[in-house]
């Protein structure tokens, strides 16, 4: 292993940073690379090193819809206060891709550090004088760590990947990341048979580290120090968390069709099921099918739900569109099935790898004619796990399609979480009658409201009793499921379905309400926006705005949401869609004038939501509430010339 640092010329640090006071354990790093360049391992090593040092952290891939060659970014956030949401203005930028370097530099916070490849033709330091530019000879350094091998035909390609570990070493030096934690992180990334690769990568890290020690300033402000805040915590993606929900929710049939960003959810789930639900003889207590399309995926799930399985499918917006007719039928024929929508930016194929909450209203109303569905809205990876389990139970209890609405940001990115808890109630089976029950009761009508709650009893195929069979249909039916076009049968059935949803509404996960109940300003958010809310509320508090906070966890919403709105004069509804979909829904259901209190705060650029996307528009509105339209969090995108210096910043 070569650790010589004298080969490469020192890079002078140009432009002095205006801020020298150290910033400890409050760090946003952005790495700009190219899709397919193998930077993911390096980025995960950085993230896991911070985690190993006990510092709350999160990691995000901002990637294009492309396999190789387009720009991609990885964002790492480390925050002693536990803030995990996106920050659009990094403190440290690592520029490995010249194509995006100028744009990336323009988004840096004043006082930030830009580490870039010295072989760039563009003169980055000339772009800004409030940023510290550090040029590094990445390729010269990696060749020291991994000398050319003429016998290895794949050398150039491997070199291209190993070079990423050099910036890990440089950042370890700049930010004082523990090298022992870094080495452990590398070994974790290259386990078992990849041990040789691990050693090469560790050599690259050391080369970068030692070069930086010898050539770069050692008093740069952004640093980390060991903490004790990640002990017993896990770092996990929302899709993996939801996949554990699939496993512990007792799913017996999983159907799916590949679509970003939900594919990894199904793949993780299949892996967990194979590992934990296969018996000693290799027989499985589950079935997973990769269907030919989403039409078939939902059809299979509905067939399985009808026949008594705990059935689930996972998809994203365009898949939901294809599932529409079946979901409407599932509602009307009252078939238990769970659909997880890991939302991406639409319409149609839209931005396939960008995040959104644009399917919320669609999920709630999917179908034609009068349809309303239960939608669960996890706001954390822990809830991705818990609410998938809950959805499987609710689908059985209410014999209806149940949606779980996550999004790309929550689903595909790494978040810190408490370990997941084991479910505290047995699997819910709902009103299911077996042959002995039928014998005892002596009568059965599939769509008869026996208990007055809108929820009927059902039997499943294979029930050996002459009363059990009924005919499932999407067409109009009477209580015995016989075909009927009689107006009274139709209306009675539709009214019962409304009553059933009302019964369900009271059983759904309650909103979580916190903060100052006497504050004038209320904040209302749902789903993945929650990850930015604690930080946003702290920033608002620092700006003199006290807030109450209500997080909706299910549609239709509970009465507590109405009471929350009644307690506040203005309620900002944070939404990651243009048309303020949940605000619209609330305005159509809330009584009296309280609907006028709702002010949507929308963010729909495709980027993950940040606290700033919430705080800035709210502060603007609080100062000038008569402005046109409603606030938007996308100031930077809407106005690229907006001066950074004039923006309120907590730092």
């Amino acid at each position: 292993m070569s650790t010589t640092s004298s080969v490469a010329e020192p890079a002078p640090a140009r432009a002095a940073a205006p801020k020298v006071a150290p910033v400890v354990n409050d760090l946003a790093i952005r790495v700009g690379t190219v899709n397919g360049s193998g930077s993911q391992s390096a980025n995960l090593v950085l993230l896991r090193s911070l985690y190993a040092m006990g510092i709350p952290c999160s990691g995000k891939n901002i990637f294009p819809s492309n396999i190789e060659g387009l720009p991609t970014w990885f964002h790492i956030r480390a925050s002693a206060r536990g803030y995990g949401a996106h920050r659009a203005d990094p403190d440290i930028l690592v520029c490995m891709n010249e194509v995006t370097a100028q744009d990336d530099v323009s988004e840096l916070k004043p006082g930030a550090i830009c580490l870039y490849r010295e072989d760039f033709s563009v003169d980055l330091p000339s772009l800004r004088d409030d940023v510290t530019f550090l040029a590094a000879p990445f390729y010269k350094l990696v060749e020291q760590a991994y000398p050319p091998d003429k016998t290895d035909k794949g050398y150039r390609d491997k070199l291209r990947k190993v070079v990423n570990m050099v910036y890990v070493g440089v950042l370890a030096s700049i930010c004082r990341i523990d090298m022992e934690a870094v080495e452990q992180g590398v070994r974790r990334e290259f386990p078992g048979r990849k041990a040789k690769a691990a050693e090469i990568n560790i050599a690259a890290v050391h080369t970068g580290y030692e070069w930086a020690q010898a050539n770069l300033p050692t008093n740069l402000p952004y640093r980390v120090e060991r903490m004790e805040s990640t002990q017993d915590k896990i770092l996990i993606e929302g899709n993996k968390a939801a996949a554990l929900g699939v496993l512990f929710g007792g799913t017996s049939v999983l159907t799916w069709y590949p679509i970003t960003p939900s594919s990894s959810l199904a793949e993780y789930a299949e892996g967990f099921l194979k590992q934990h639900r296969t018996d000693a003889e290799g027989r499985k207590s589950f079935a997973v099918i990769q269907a030919e399309d989403e039409l078939a995926a939902i059809g299979m799930a509905i067939g399985a739900g009808w026949a008594g399985a705990r059935a689930l499918t996972a998809t994203s917006g365009p898949g939901i569109s294809l599932m529409t007719e079946f979901v409407g039928m599932g509602y009307f024929a009252e078939i238990p099935v769970v659909i997880i929508d890991v939302q991406r930016m639409g319409p149609s194929t839209g931005l396939p790898t960008r995040t959104s909450q644009g399917d919320v209203l669609k999920m709630h109303l999917l179908g034609h004619g009068d349809c309303r569905h239960i939608v669960l809205l996890p706001g954390s990876v822990e809830e991705c796990y818990e609410l998938v389990i809950e959805a499987l139970d609710l689908a059985q209890q209410f014999q209806t399609p149940v949606f779980v609405a996550t999004d790309l940001d929550l689903g595909m990115n790494l978040w810190l979480s408490e370990p997941f808890r084991y479910p505290d109630k047995p699997l819910q089976r709902g009103k299911l009658l077996n042959a002995a029950d039928l014998e005892r009761i002596g009568e059965f009508a599939r769509y008869k409201d026996v208990d007055g709650d809108g929820v009927c009893y059902r039997t499943i195929p294979g029930t050996e009793n002459p009363m059990a069979a009924y005919f499932t249909r999407g067409t109009g039916h009477n209580e015995k499921s016989g075909y009927s076009e009689r107006p009274e049968d139709w209306k009675k059935n539709l009214d019962r379905l409304a009553l059933k949803l009302e019964t369900a509404r009271k059983a759904l996960p309650a909103p979580i309400i916190e903060g100052d109940p006497s504050a004038q300003v209320g904040l209302l958010a749902y789903g993945g926006s929650h990850v930015a809310m604690a930080e946003a509320r702290d920033q608002l508090q620092e700006q003199g705005v006290r807030t109450g906070y209500c997080r909706i966890r299910a549609l239709p919403v509970s009465d507590e949401v109405t009471h929350f709105i009644e307690r506040h004069q203005r309620v900002y509804v944070i939404e990651q869609n243009r048309d303020a979909q949940v605000t619209s829904l609330l305005k159509t259901t809330l009584r009296g004038t309280i609907a006028d209190r709702l002010v949507p705060v929308t963010h729909y650029s495709g980027t993950p939501i940040s606290a700033e996307n919430i705080v800035r528009p709210i502060l603007g509105w609080e100062k000038n509430p008569s402005g046109p339209g409603w606030p938007t969090g996308d100031v930077e995108r809407d106005n690229p010339h907006a001066s950074h210096v004039e923006q309120p910043s907590p730092e």
């Binding site: 499985k284 078939a296 059809g299 009808w306 026949a307 047995p426 195929p461 294979g462």
Partner: protein, 350 residues
Amino acid sequence: MASEATITVESNGRSFALPTVAFQGLPSTLCKGCGHNSITSYLIEACKSIGLNPYQTVKLSGIGCSSKTPAYFLQASHGFNALHGRMPSVATGALMANAKLVCIGISGDGDTANIGLGQFKHACRRNVPMVYIVEDNGCYGLTKGQFSATADLKAHLRRPTGEENTIAPFDLCVEAIVGGASFVARSFAGDKKQLVPLLKAAIRHSGTAVIDIISPCVTFNDFAGSTKSWEWAKDHEEPLQDVGFVPRLAEIEVEQKVGEPVRVQLHDGSWIVLRALNHEEHDVKSRASALNLLEESLRKHEFLTGLLYVDTTRDDFATALNTVATPLALLSDEALRPSPETLAKIMETI
């Protein structure tokens, strides 16, 4: 109850009697003389004759006139009238939930050859263990007679002088064989002698058993010159074989001798016995032979019926899933949800 009014059912090693009414259904609301009604009566006869357990049977359909059929037979079975062309996916899901169910899917030519072609062929590809009946009349009856994708080239719309079809049809038996179905037959709603044993064999077959049944639409496609009319089919039908079905208890000589009937043993031990009539050269176990035969009959404008292809060696989809013996729909909490210790172990690895 008189003994002639009951049917003995054998299921999972036990036998019990069910009234014949359990095998019947509601009165048909289809047109008088509809080929679908004949098929329904043969289905009832086939189910009764093999003592099929209605409780363990599901009947599914798509949309169209054909989709009503499940309401007209086996009223002690659960039925599902799914979406247009999407019965195969629902059937696949139901069989995943409970691989012990016997599944009879009824579709039409509009349902299968048009909107449902994809799902049909994927069911064949997976060899989903189901009977897949196409009640084929070359038109959309329920929407008043438009051409379907099995309407013959130069067929006429609704009457002898109606608009002419300029697009060549799909042959659903070719599609089924190419798609991977392991039992493919063509028959005629007017041929009880052939259809009843074919239906029995299809029910006993483990895999996708497709029977494309020409079933004349008396209202929109039963005029002189229509190739999907009663008269044309009766006049032109050329049965491939005399088809017989022998339940599994019979002792059958396995060895086949030249000139003797072909016997194919099905998964449950019963046999289908085929005595070739004109096409002695056809090998019912060869896809290539079946496709050649269909190509030849298309050229000759023959209406060839009988068992075209059968493969009893390939695993069906439920077998390939390799699930536990208990149907997934009936598993206990313990079987479905791993222990708290498992969760704790997983948490350590994350």
